[in-house]
Symmetry: C2
Subunit: 319 residues, 2 copies
């Protein structure tokens, strides 16, 4: 018996076929966010593609797990809101079950990624795990006692929107001083813009001034590696705020592990020192001692694997 | 069958006799923190006093619940650290069970207070509840799915040490910008001192300058009620930071309720507006809508009642 796991984001839709704790097939396509219908037909195409592969291997598929970048009404199987997808109050579980004739389990993409890192990734076997995805934004998932923690309405674990600096910079969410506004790709791009406007010399800022816009974190890391001091200091600053946020998480949750993944880890060597210093300064010793800070080991597969694991636990083990 | 519930803090030891969901007797004494022995004999005296009352009512006592201001190893029943009590690695469960011949259940005082507000207090019947005690410091407890959330080593829910302002004022815990360093009695006293040093005129500051020291929040509230603008603005400022902290908790936990108790609520009318404004600005709408912000209804009894409830669930219902 197999399971299909899908990770549906605003940029790409990744799918896996999962059997006996392993990925046996993998698929990937760009998410076409033109409309609700285009996204849905992309999801269906991915599922049918993987069902075809399963059938050519004579593998029966037990069900489908879906991780979606959005707020989800877990009881109803409805996507209520999705900032980066054209979904609003969409009863996606019912739609997919009707189309595919298979049971569908649904959760937020960051939640299932956290589940994957806790079950089969960096924090394998640990019961209390907090996962952060550091990219353009900051996503997160909380695993308590081996299960995804959802809160009252499925909206928990908005770790990127923990406020780490009251009165801090405005976040895309409307709040101020969110972790995402201080330690994400978006935050770094804003800092490049702010500092460039101050006219400070630096190869990175010169490049930005020639072509202003959304400066990517990967370029900041590139300049940092070449020794650009401004680039280094911006990454160190983001690392500091990340460490403050992690310290807060440690003090609140006393987790066994914090796992980190996402594109920003490409610049992590420049963020790590200040991150760790901020954790040491701000975390309570008794909780700090029991909290490992780990890099996720599942990379881009975490979401789809977590979706498969979710489906597995919803529909029974697959052997 | 009855249960004894005790709330052991650095200032006082409160005890109740609990039967059928009600307090049938109550006792209270100052905690003598001279030594481990003096605290222990105070606890034993309180228990024996309540056992005597039970026996005169022909009520059999099933066990004892203890809420203690400290870090507790739940498996071993050991108080590992206690900032305001002379306890260090004390196997208190074993000691009390040996002395009293009754089973003892043990937890942190703020945790059991949270349990009480969630089970029989302001958030009665709600599953996901976060409780804050606003006093000299800020304590907290987290109830998830009706149970106290402990984390990996029993040290979770240090809500007062969530960092709400990176680089903010130094907290007693050594970290910077903790909620406790911005919105507690200690924080308000520090602000009075800071502003008094700036020489600003105000009846409150004049009083402080005549007799500097640890200025109590109750006095700030008193001056605020008489119209002292400095007092009002300090309380509004603390309310703002409290709201930022509550917003973070809402974004992380998506709770059904946040309950507030403690001495600072005496000044709450001056804090409430800015608190609510900060929550509205910083909390994610979907989680904000499901989170009630409530005043605790159990007052000083919350700790002892929560200890009794903990014992009840550990040793079975008492009828």
């Amino acid at each position: 018996m197999g399971i299909i796991g899908l990770d549906v984001g605003g940029t790409k839709t990744a799918g896996i076929l999962w059997k006996d704790g392993k990925i046996v097939a993998r698929t990937w396509e760009r998410t076409d966010v033109t409309s609700q219908e285009t996204v849905l037909s992309g999801i269906l195409a991915t599922c049918r593609n993987l069902l075809g592969r399963a059938s050519s291997d004579a593998l029966r598929v037990k069900g489908i797990g879906l991780g979606i970048a959005g707020f989800i009404d877990l009881e109803e199987g409805v996507i209520t809101e999705a900032p980066n997808l054209p979904f609003k109050d969409l009863p996606i579980r019912e739609i997919l079950e009707d189309e595919l004739g298979l049971p569908v389990a649904l959760d937020n993409d960051a939640n299932v990624a956290a589940l994957a890192e806790a079950k089969v990734g960096a924090a394998r076997g640990l019961r209390h795990v907090i996962h952060l995805t550091l990219g353009t934004g900051i996503g997160g998932g909380i695993v308590i006692d081996g299960n995804i923690y959802h809160g009252a309405r499925g909206a928990a674990a908005e770790i990127g929107h923990m406020i780490v600096k009251a009165d801090g910079p405005r976040c895309n969410c409307g709040a101020r001083g969110c972790l995402e506004a201080l330690a994400s790709g978006v935050a770094l791009a804003r800092r490049v813009r702010e500092i460039a406007e101050q006219g400070k010399p630096s190869p990175m800022l010169d490049e930005y001034r020639r072509q202003p816009g959304n400066y990517p974190a990967s370029k900041i890391a590139e300049h940092a590696r070449k020794g650009d001091e401004t680039a280094v200091s911006l990454l160190r600053e983001a690392g500091y705020y990340l460490g403050v946020g992690i310290a807060s998480l440690i003090n609140l949750f006393n987790p066994e592990a914090i796992t980190l993944s996402g594109g920003l880890l490409g610049a992590f060597s420049f963020m790590e020192d200040t991150m760790l210093a901020a954790v040491e300064e701000n975390a309570i010793a008794i909780s700090r001692r029991s909290a490992k800070i780990l890099r996720g080991t599942l990379g881009e597969d975490a979401g789809a694997m977590g979706a498969a694991l979710l489906a597995e636990s919803s529909f029974g083990e697959c052997r």
